[in-house]
Amino acid sequence: MPLNFKNRDDDMEKEIFEPRIIAFMCNWCTYGAADLAGVNRMQYPPNIRPIRVMCSATVSPHHILRGFQSGADGILVGG
């Protein structure tokens, strides 16, 4: 039986849901890849707010929970 949450889903019906995403990016790979996506002018939605870290291994549950507390709908850890 589907769960019935009454929160953002209601708003979603009114307007298109635009998720807010925090992306933790490893300096050596994902951050560089995102740079290269720019060099190649690859277009993607503007929903991501990147945070550069020196390695994805440094991202702890604390960082992820803080992200959600700050209003993120999704967290991406790239490394």
């Binding site: 740079d35 277009q43 503007p46 707010r49 870290v53 020196m54 209003g71």
Partner: protein
């Protein structure tokens, strides 16, 4: 092109009307006459192709000059001749891929779906003409290509071939790249893909290569031992028909969608011309003529060579040779080291600890790269409203030299103590701006960037409102972090300017001598009672040079070298310390002793496998190649008296216990077989093998052996030859794969080409905190790019301790290890600090979580205080300990949790 002004925005290439074949992508697509030669160029700058530029050729156009936002185009730039005075020269001209169109081999020129391996590399590449999608050349322009279902690789195109070309050598790399391409092609294919590799011998002799080959077989890649004669088109389709004889002798016709020619490597005519001009001797294949004991030296003193120029080789071997050449080239210049370098003057750093936070924000337009999408004026206005921001400026190009000068002035004039630049990426520009901070007397870590170009204007070009909003968010996040930045200190730790080399074989002695000749004291440790290692038993190199006389010279040179202290009968008891500051306890016959050293080179070798099979140790006629070398050296009469001689290859190699190729045995056996034939031309010689792996110019030996009538019989691992006692001789029963019958011969000498096995020296590995792989070889930091380094800085590996290899490769690797060690020994001090981890001892509960996750073994446990501590010299600043620490005691300087939380909080705080 003014590379200082070019910002690599790409406007020039956009506007350039001239389309040219893109040689980087093997002419599979077009580029412009102004272009970036390949995506990873360093520095990333555009270049004008004078052969095709309309303005340079005809004096008209100039579109790039008109549209370049930074005025970087300079048509007046001329070719200049520059004279340099140098003490040594290193030649690394690389190779040219064999061109199969020159003899119309396999219809390459006419059949579109017959391509070379290097063309296929481009097709598979994400930066290639098909964006990494597997597309047939005949479907390049179709909107919905179906892709190939069946691909064939033909090995040895332009290699091991004296008929279609004069390349008698093996190109060494093609087997491995074909296996790699087949697996990659399967990955890239949306539907199941059939891959077939047609080959003569699979030569996967490199470290871990045989495992890769076996894995490819498991994944369904078909390996068909057959040399294809020609390719015929399938009438009415784009398909290609191959005819071959399968193992059982039946003739088969099979069609494929695509055929890839595994083209070999050869020297470029320009390289041959250059060699002639420099007076360098080349061999009959136009590779550098070098002897096995000086693998990177040329016939001209002071000129060195590396890479494919000295013979076909893969990336790891080329990288090793490059370091070896650097070592040899600087050896003769050691006395004048640093006589022509300048010291940078330092500007005293301002103490900002008592100042209120004053952030300056510089927002860049990057010509129109940012300003064309993001409303920069709005971002500037917004930045002004952020807390602690006291100054905001808009720049056309923040990275230009005049802006840097102005920024230096502004930092002082406005009393800025935190700087944020909203522009491009810190990966390319952080260092430049940090330099400006240093020049303004600010600690360089009081800096933060907001990437509003690569991560914003360039990727949201069609949504200026969203891009402007994102730019504001990025600036807000950067300012939030900047407010919490504190100055980080970098300290210099002294370097003990001496080395410890473990192992007194050829590799160890070569490394020790190289370092000593560069001016550094070396302790050379040998566990046995004499120097030389296993080389003492070897007879000759594949080129026929005497190993004994070389070894004698080498040992003498080591003994008379004042800077080398040799410790015989010595082992390692305990190792303390880290890069630049090791303190090692050694155990000698006269007791324990401590040695201080800045670097360590592990050259502890390997050993011969002692066979349990084929009557070894039970019958006097059965011996190993080392035993046979002994007989050859003492001119034992059995060599001349033998009527029948046999060699069995892969004894203990490429099996379940040792699933790797021992690399040297095929060449060793064939060389010894030829030597027996020379001394005893009447002897019948039989070699039982699985694949003959005489890679590179060693292939000449294999050809010579067949010419001399030496017989080669292939066996399958499940049908090994059977050896029985037969009086003074032994009987060998084997299955002949051509006749498909079991035959038997009686031989007077049976030589077993035994595997080379590691010592599995776990103790030594743990002492130096370096890993061993599952076969017991020391595992380097990166198999391709850092072949002699370890993740643990200051420790290096060379010779057979790394993997079985012939003498010339051991010597090159020893010189490479010495070269890498020199990068440490030549430093005045080792910089530590900056972005590294730190553990707050008040918060640390001593749970050891950080110690277990640290990939660099930089964390130790202080038993007295009961807390974990970070060695700043070993920490690489990855921050793995931060995530592991349950009490947030571990802090990554410059990326601490307060700063990250501030960024997270600021992300959506608008």
């Amino acid at each position: 092109m003014d590379v200082d002004k070019c910002i690599a925005c790409g406007t020039c290439a956009d506007k350039c009307p001239q389309k040219v074949d893109d040689e980087y992508n093997e002419r599979l697509q077009k580029r412009k006459a102004i272009y970036v030669p390949y995506p990873q160029t360093v520095p990333l700058k555009y270049a004008i192709d004078p052969e095709h530029c309309i303005f340079i050729k005809k004096g008209k156009c100039g579109a790039c000059e008109k549209f370049c936002p930074s005025g970087a185009i300079n048509f007046k730039d001329m070719e200049k001749e520059i004279t340099l005075k140098v003490g040594s020269i290193i030649l690394a001209p690389g190779f040219k891929s064999f061109d199969p169109s020159q003899h119309d081999t396999y219809g390459y020129a006419n059949l579109a779906n017959v391509i070379t391996a290097i063309e296929f590399e481009r097709i598979l590449s994400a930066t290639g003409p098909c964006m990494g999608h597997l597309v047939l050349p005949t479907e390049f322009n179709k909107p919905h290509p179906t892709g190939p279902k069946k691909i064939a690789w033909l090995q040895c195109v332009g290699s091991r071939d004296m008929n279609r070309c004069d390349n008698g050598y093996c190109s060494s790399i093609c087997c491995m790249y074909a296996v790699k391409q087949s697996l990659m092609a399967k990955d890239h294919s949306a539907t199941p893909l059939d891959c077939a590799i047609f080959y003569m011998d699979i030569r996967t002799q490199g470290k871990d290569f045989d495992r890769y080959y076996e894995n490819a077989k498991k994944k369904g890649v078909r390996f068909i031992r057959s040399r294809i004669h020609s390719i015929a088109p399938v009438v009415g389709t784009d398909g290609l028909l191959l005819r071959y004889v399968e193992e059982k002798g039946a003739s088969v016709e099979e069609s494929f969608d695509m055929v890839i020619l595994s083209t070999g490597i050869e020297m470029h005519p320009d390289t041959i011309t250059l060699s002639k001009r420099l007076g360098i001797d080349l061999d009959h294949y136009h590779f550098v003529q070098s002897d096995s004991f000086h693998p990177v030296a040329t016939s001209v003193p002071g000129i060195y060579a590396c890479g494919a120029f000295t013979g076909p080789k893969d990336i790891p071997q080329s990288v090793m040779e490059a370091s070896a050449a650097a070592c040899s080239a600087t050896e003769r210049l050691a006395e004048v080291r640093d006589t022509q370098t300048k010291k940078i003057e330092t500007i005293p750093e301002r103490d900002v600890s008592r100042e209120p936070i004053r952030v300056g924000v510089f927002v860049c337009n990057c010509g129109i790269n940012i300003g064309g999408v993001v409303n920069v004026k709005e971002v500037v206005k917004y930045a002004m409203s952020l807390p602690n921001v006291v100054y905001v400026e808009e720049n056309l190009f923040t990275c230009s030299q005049d802006t840097q000068d102005k920024m230096t002035e502004l930092i002082n004039e406005k009393g800025l103590n935190r700087v944020v630049v909203a522009a491009c990426t810190p990966r390319t520009h952080e260092v430049l701006f940090q330099e400006t901070l240093i020049n303004a007397g600010l600690n360089k870590y009081l800096f933060e960037m907001a990437n509003i170009r690569n991560h914003d204007s360039w990727v949201h070009a069609n949504d200026p409102d969203a891009a402007t909003k994102k730019a504001k968010d990025l600036v807000r996040m950067a300012v939030a972090k900047a407010c919490l930045l504190s100055p980080l200190q970098e300290m210099g730790l002294p370097v003990t300017k001496s080395a410890l080399v473990i192992g007194g074989g050829i590799a160890g002695m070569t490394a020790a001598l190289s370092l000593a000749r560069q001016g550094y004291p070396v302790h050379l440790l040998e566990k046995a009672e004499s120097l030389g290692g296993h080389a003492k038993r070897l007879y000759q190199t594949f080129k026929g040079e005497s190993i004994a006389s070389f070894l004698e010279d080498l040992i003498r040179e080591v003994k008379i070298e004042d800077r080398i202290t040799v410790h015989m009968n010595t082992t390692i008891a305990h190792v303390d310390g880290f890069i630049g500051n090791f303190n090692t306890e050694i155990e000698t016959t006269s007791g324990k002793k401590r040695i201080e050293h800045g670097v360590a080179i592990l050259a502890c070798g390997a050993k011969e496998y002692q066979p349990k099979e084929y009557l070894y140790g039970e019958h006097a006629s059965v011996m190993t190649n080392l035993d046979l070398d002994d007989l050859l050296k003492i001119e034992d009469p059995r060599i001349k008296q033998a009527h029948n001689v046999a060699f069995i290859q892969c004894v203990g190699s490429r099996d379940e216990t040792h699933p790797y190729c021992s690399k040297v045995c095929c060449t060793h056996s064939i060389k010894n077989a030829l030597e027996i034939k020379k001394r005893n031309p009447e002897a019948n010689i039989h070699i039982f093998y699985r694949d003959i792996r005489t890679y590179g110019v060693r292939e000449d030996l294999y050809r010579e052996a067949r010419k001399q009538g030496i017989l080669f019989f292939r066996y399958e691992p499940n049908e090994k030859p059977i050896v029985r006692h037969d009086g003074d001789s032994v009987q060998i029963a084997f299955k002949d794969h051509v006749l498909d019958r079991t035959l038997s011969i009686h031989v007077d000498i049976l030589c077993l080409a035994t595997a080379i096995v590691s010592y599995h020296d776990q103790g030594l590995a743990q002492s130096f905190k370096v890993p061993l792989d599952s076969d017991g070889w020391f595992l380097e930091a990166h198999q391709k790019l850092r072949p002699v380094d370890f993740a643990n800085d200051g420790v290096f590996v060379c010779g057979m301790a790394h993997y079985p290899k012939p003498i010339e490769e051991s010597i090159a690797q020893a010189q490479a290890a010495a070269s890498r060690a020199l990068t440490v020994l030549t430093m005045d001090s080792i910089k530590v600090g900056g972005v590294t981890a730190h553990i707050e001892s008040d918060l640390c509960s001593g749970c050891l979580a950080c110690l277990n996750v640290c990939p660099f073994k930089a964390i130790t446990f202080n038993h007295r205080k009961g807390v974990a501590e970070v060695n700043q010299a070993l920490c690489k600043g990855c921050g793995a300990c931060i995530a592991a620490c349950p009490s947030e005691a571990a802090v990554l300087m410059g990326f601490n949790n307060k700063q990250l939380y501030a960024q997270i909080k600021a992300a959506f705080a608008a």
